[in-house]
């Protein structure tokens, strides 16, 4: 859960946030590619969820399992929801939404890792 793939999800999310921030600052209309990148994030988090749950089943470590699964299962909902919410929105607000989502996802990963290692 603290491996390379989790780091990749964080880096890609931050890259998406940075990309959206460029659109926001330059006041460029949101591109299809930027909009679709939210689905890439969603896919990464679905893989993370499957991987995390498999890893959990194979481990006898003591930690808050319900929380762990809850975070993993719900995290893909955020980029999927924002993808749906920003469809057809080419304004700066659309880009701002993607910035927020790109910043929230790494925080979620950090929180998931905290739960995994036994912290509250």
């Amino acid at each position: 859960m603290t491996g390379l793939f989790a780091t990749i999800t964080m880096v890609v999310s931050l890259a998406m946030a940075a990309w959206a921030l460029v659109h926001l600052v330059l006041n460029r209309p949101m591109s299809r590619a930027l909009h679709s990148s939210q689905l890439v994030i969603a896919a990464l988090f679905i893989v993370l969820a499957i991987g995390g749950i498999v890893q959990m089943i194979g481990s006898d470590q003591d930690f808050a399992r319900a929380e762990f699964v809850g975070y993993l299962v719900l995290s893909p909902v955020i980029p999927i929801g924002s993808w749906w919410w920003t469809r057809g929105d080419r304004t700066r607000i659309g880009s701002a939404i993607i910035v927020v989502v790109g910043l929230v996802m790494p925080v979620l990963v950090a929180r998931i890792q905290q739960v995994w290692s036994g912290g509250g």
């Binding site: 808050a64 319900a66 929380e67 809850g70 975070y71 719900l74 909902v77 955020i78 929801g81 924002s82 919410w85 920003t86 929105d89 607000i93 659309g94 701002a96 939404i97 927020v100 989502v101 929230v104």
Partner: protein
């Protein structure tokens, strides 16, 4: 479904939705796995979660009734974060486990305090009467 809200509200809705998802998931786990540890704190968290859901849905719709519901939910939230925040500082023993509103939401970067203020300001600024 009512028309989707526009402008800054769309961003506000996303932040609210993330909070609603997080608060609901967290309080569901707390209620089902260790309710007896801190029933008051966990019930408050669940209540806060429900209000976040109501606020998210109301803000996402643009009609008049939704605006009233949103205003009510936001006023409730602001009161909640102020009352619980103050109470958690004055009577820390009553809150053995943190709620989303404890110490004015400091565990969540004070976002629980900022959100209703921003939301109410936005509702006022975009009021059709103004």
């Amino acid at each position: 479904m009512a028309e989707r809200s526009t402008g800054g509200a769309r961003l506000l809705v996303v932040v609210y939705a993330i909070f609603a998802i997080a608060a609901t998931a967290r309080s569901a786990v707390q209620l089902f796995t260790r309710f007896d540890e801190a029933p008051v704190a966990y019930l408050l968290s669940a209540l806060a979660a429900v209000v976040y859901i109501i606020a998210t849905v109301a803000l996402s719709r643009a009609d008049r009734t939704s605006r009233r519901v949103a205003t009510a939910a936001l006023v409730f939230e602001l009161s909640g974060v102020l009352v619980v925040g103050t109470a958690s500082l004055l009577f820390p023993d009553a809150f053995p486990r943190a709620t989303v509103w404890s110490t004015y939401g400091s565990g969540y970067l004070f976002i629980p305090l900022a959100l209703p203020i921003i939301g109410l300001w936005w509702l006022r600024r975009t009021s059709p009467k103004a």
